[in-house]
Symmetry: none
């Protein structure tokens, strides 16, 4: 049998000697009293866009759902296994998070697949094709604009999709009600990977803008 | 409108001044040449168990799916939106990862819900109830053993579930075939949160054991 | 009669006491020997996007054409007064510049007018309408994508237009021939005004990217 | 492909570290609220006569049209692309500038071409020849006076041309009407390049005189 990946064990040793050593009291407290993160992040599986890294978040801070292209299937109460809906329900109803951030990123493979559907699916089940079908209508609109470069179309759909997912969040009654009561805020963010730039969505206009970092001190 | 959470912006500033400043060349290279992570981690949304933190992983290293209780619904090719299957297909067929690690953890809220089903669902859709239904048969078996303490039952189901998810991974033809060819390895891991202990699954026996860290140097 | 604007005279006095005092030898030399700028910039009239300011350029460095939305009408040898073509001919054939930079910018009023044609022209001649008609086909394509926000459509057309103008530059035989001989290079740039960000066009892909400033030393 | 001119990138870096750093609040405000310059300057493309430099103007102050020899083709409402008329219409009708300054300068290449028409045009389209045809009648008159030195003829036509362009401005109904109402003032200026001298036109007499700078404090 294959041994547990040595790179992961080496990394874990670093964690124990570094972060855990420094924060063991916090880990123990979080274990004893349970987690109470204020923020849920819905992010992509991409190896270059880990929320804890980008937001320099410590243990207990972020409740993180990650799927391909950070999508939120709309509310559909039936007898299926809805992983995203379950995470959302748990975060909102049980943990009572105050913020939900949908964080997309540049060069997203899922968005790329939506813009460039291949005749040949990755596997017979075509799970990526089905999953990215959630943004297919927007992908068609964006793909039709051949005056934009492929990279510009990619960024455009990445951002349109974030706005879509935020709309989909509002199809969940609990989200909509708590947002109306001012107890839950929905945010969009987009991380460019290459330059490390973070762009946040203006809730009024839907535009993505560079946040003023000076004001955060 | 609610401003973007200041704590996240402050964390992002730390990231830019710290990790990004130190690894900007790597981020740019990853943006230019694409990601090629060797390992996919299927982990829980829990705010205390971020894979990048526990494995001290840098950008580009881990392709991370996170859902409640790190579950893998079994292969079901139909016309539904299967988020977990899509991530798996992308990791295996497109990124060609060499390892998949299912990482559970102590004090998991999803596992706790499976062991203690409430009469009252968290929301009318009962998404957590539906989602954790994926381990309901095992949960019933464990819950029936009243000789174990609640904490023991919790840990037991957390570990049983990891073994279940690894079996579910093998229902995907692409996973099974590549594992048989020796090009993909499946691993289990369990993180205890409180003491920072990592336990890895022995592939032969299914037992969880403390890895020998000295060997990783 | 109105006196010459006092603000301009005050600014001129600053110039004499500052830049001119420091560079009088250079001004005299440039007067005596003529200008020989290496770069022509085709920029917008906008008061927030002066090329000399953005590129911190001294006397003699930039030959600057400015019109609304930095457009280049395509080659049309006839008996009309073509201001843009005249400037281009002078820069390329007489001054023999080595670079032509088409520099657009964010929040461009001309591009905004192209995307939002009003039923009521600004004046009976509708000169803005006629002039921006040079990008009307692209404006229609971009305007039709209502999934993008108004600001995103604006940026998209600003960048598409820069690529168009560079293509129009190549309709001039002298430009095309010199570019083929490697004696003239065409560049695109986009300045965002708000954050002071400069984006330059990748000649291969047409994408606008942040230049690496460290490499310019 | 040719890289973006390094000199421009170095200049841009200076801008970011200098002027932008000092005026970022102003840039952001101008981006948010739009430009509202009080003055339009019609200047020459010449690399030695940038209006922002000569008037030490900051962002948002000057709306600047630049073409060869700072010409204003007279009002001609037809279906052509009139770049100068478009800029004028935008400045007057949309931005509602209060001043228009036509600024010529010494040693102007366009004026020199008008005075010394070559048998051989710069390119087959002879765009400079066509463009400078706008001052051909005056050029013929000046050229015929062989008692003046070539340099005196050059300066004479530079100044005559400024007066012509101001007359041409008045062929635009909107300019004439607003000037009559006292809401728009037209000015002439001439910059000598060599000594840095600015001369402004006396609106009564048409003479160019050195302004009294003491009065501007």
């Amino acid at each position: 049998m294959a041994p547990f990946p040595p790179r992961l064990l080496a990394g874990y040793r670093n964690f124990m000697a570094g972060r855990y050593a420094a924060e063991s009291a916090r880990y123990r407290s979080l274990a004893r009293e349970g987690q109470s993160p204020e923020t849920m992040v819905i992010a992509c599986c991409d190896s270059r866009a880990a929320p804890e890294t980008i937001f320099d978040a410590g243990p207990g801070e972020l409740f993180v759902l990650r799927n391909v292209a950070n999508l939120v299937p709309p509310y559909a109460p039936d007898d299926r296994h809805h992983g995203t809906s379950a995470a959302l329900e748990f975060a909102v109803q049980s943990l009572k998070v105050k913020n939900i951030v949908v964080m997309g990123h540049g060069r997203c493979g899922g968005i790329h697949a939506a813009l460039n559907p291949s005749a040949e699916p990755l596997s017979p089940g075509d799970f990526i094709g089905q999953w990215m079908g959630l943004v297919a209508p927007a992908a068609e609109v964006v793909a039709s604009n051949t005056l934009m470069t492929p990279a510009e179309r990619q960024t455009a759909l990445e951002r349109i999709s974030i706005r879509y997912q935020i709309q989909n969040l509002r199809t969940f009654p609990c989200v909509r009600i708590l947002e109306e009561k001012g107890r839950l805020a929905l945010h969009g963010a987009w991380f460019d990977i290459s330059e490390g730039e973070l762009w946040v969505m203006d809730a009024e206009t839907g535009d993505f803008v560079r946040p003023s970092l000076g004001e955060t001190l």
